[in-house]
């Protein structure tokens, strides 16, 4: 959910509209925001599944430090979605393990 109104920061300014595809489904996004922000706004929590136990992982640090939020972006695995800006038309996939399966 987007924070439309805020007592300190004011109303959400008009943003650069974009769309990205997540596992084949189109979601609205804002050009330049981190991919992780677009996913959170769309209510998507699971970014990847771990290699050995297939456990779900999502955002943990949101500043590029922990690598928990990596996904496969335009065929490239292990992209830190919390610090990678959205470009209109990006193709994002939930990553499994090291992402070899996602690789093109």
């Amino acid at each position: 959910m987007r924070v439309e109104h805020h007592p300190i920061l004011g109303n959400l300014p008009k943003l650069r509209e974009a769309k990205i595809q997540v596992d084949g489904k189109e979601i609205p996004a804002v050009g330049g925001e981190p991919i992780a922000a677009a996913l959170a706004a769309a209510g998507i929590r699971v970014h990847r599944y771990t290699a050995q136990r297939s456990e779900p992982r999502g955002i943990f640090c949101a500043i590029g430090q922990c690598t928990d939020c990596v996904m496969t972006v335009n065929g490239t695995p292990n992209v830190r979605t919390c610090i990678t800006p959205v470009v209109d038309g990006m193709v994002v996939e939930t990553q499994h393990g090291s992402g070899q399966r996602n690789k093109r």
């Binding site: 924070v3 805020h6 920061l9 330049g32 925001e33 779900p56 955002i59 640090c61 500043i63 990006m90």
Partner: protein, 382 residues
Amino acid sequence: MRAVDLAVVGAGPAGLAAAIEGAKRGCSTVVVDRNPKPGGQLIKQIHKFFGSREHQAGTRGIDIASALFREVHDLGVTLMSGWEVYDLQPGRLEVVQTSFEESTTDQPEAAFRVATNAESIAAEKIVLATGAEENAIHFDGWTLPGVMGAGAAQTMINVWRVLPGNRILMVGSGNVGLIVTYQLLQAGADVAAIVEATSKIGGYGVHAAKVRRAGIPILTSHTVVEACGESRVTGAIIAQLDASWNPVPGSEKTFDVDTICVATGLRPNARLASLAGCRLTNSPVLGGWVPIHNSRLETTVPGIYVAGDVSGIEEASTALEEGRLAGISTAASLGKSNAGDEEEIRTIDERLCSLRGGPFCQPIQDAKQELVKIGESACPKE
């Protein structure tokens, strides 16, 4: 290769202040920061700062950041946002920027290309202002999506204007836990409660009062014992702790939350300092392993300086002062001093002393002095 007098890693308060003071003294200066936006944690701090006027009390972190950006811009400092340092040694940094660019070809397979730009930066002096990272605590289900650092939630709401969840349990009542709780409310989320493992609220009374006035319970001697859910957090179980920190059987309570924020302290992010070969020492009061430095903030590796949380967890106000000191020190070591710099350094030292004064900060003051004591013999001499 880009060649500069001063390269600063990290565009938070310490890094920007160092760059400003260096540039004011005629150093050609570059700041490298891996985040899409500069400002470090300042751009998340929508609350007003405390202290006295010379420490920017009454000013919001976001406004302090804007003022720093203007100064950096006016002084002609090169700001490389979205660039990450992957190797460094005295005199040289290797940086990389990865981005996805729309390709000009109309082949669907090549609609995007991953652009990896790499650069070497030759720098006479390096200031590492790499900040801190959040501590995690381990409980059942702590890796589930929906368990995140309190700072992560703060970044999402205040920088990107997105709620990471709708109903939140906050773990930890230090200043970060209290402030982020209040900011989550401002952003429109519900906070079910704050749990605090010790018997006392950790942060300032004024922040705790704001949260309580908003009706959020602060449960001391309580901690989270389990995050419930299969693929995401759907609830949290908390329990009371006895005097030896063990959960009291039968005291468990379940909260209907979709997010658990962990505010259990920060530790210095000394990875690049370590990579550069700087000697570290473990200081629990300063948050963990910190680079040893002398009074001029130079580490055991000649030409590499530190400033801000990387050399001990404190506040943005102390980070600004340390940054200034690092900028003046590096410029001086290159023979670029302003008249009055000695007086300026004395003033900064006094301000640091007063910021670290008071019962809340005295242990930090002592730990910093201890660090400098080791540093004066272990670090390069003037």
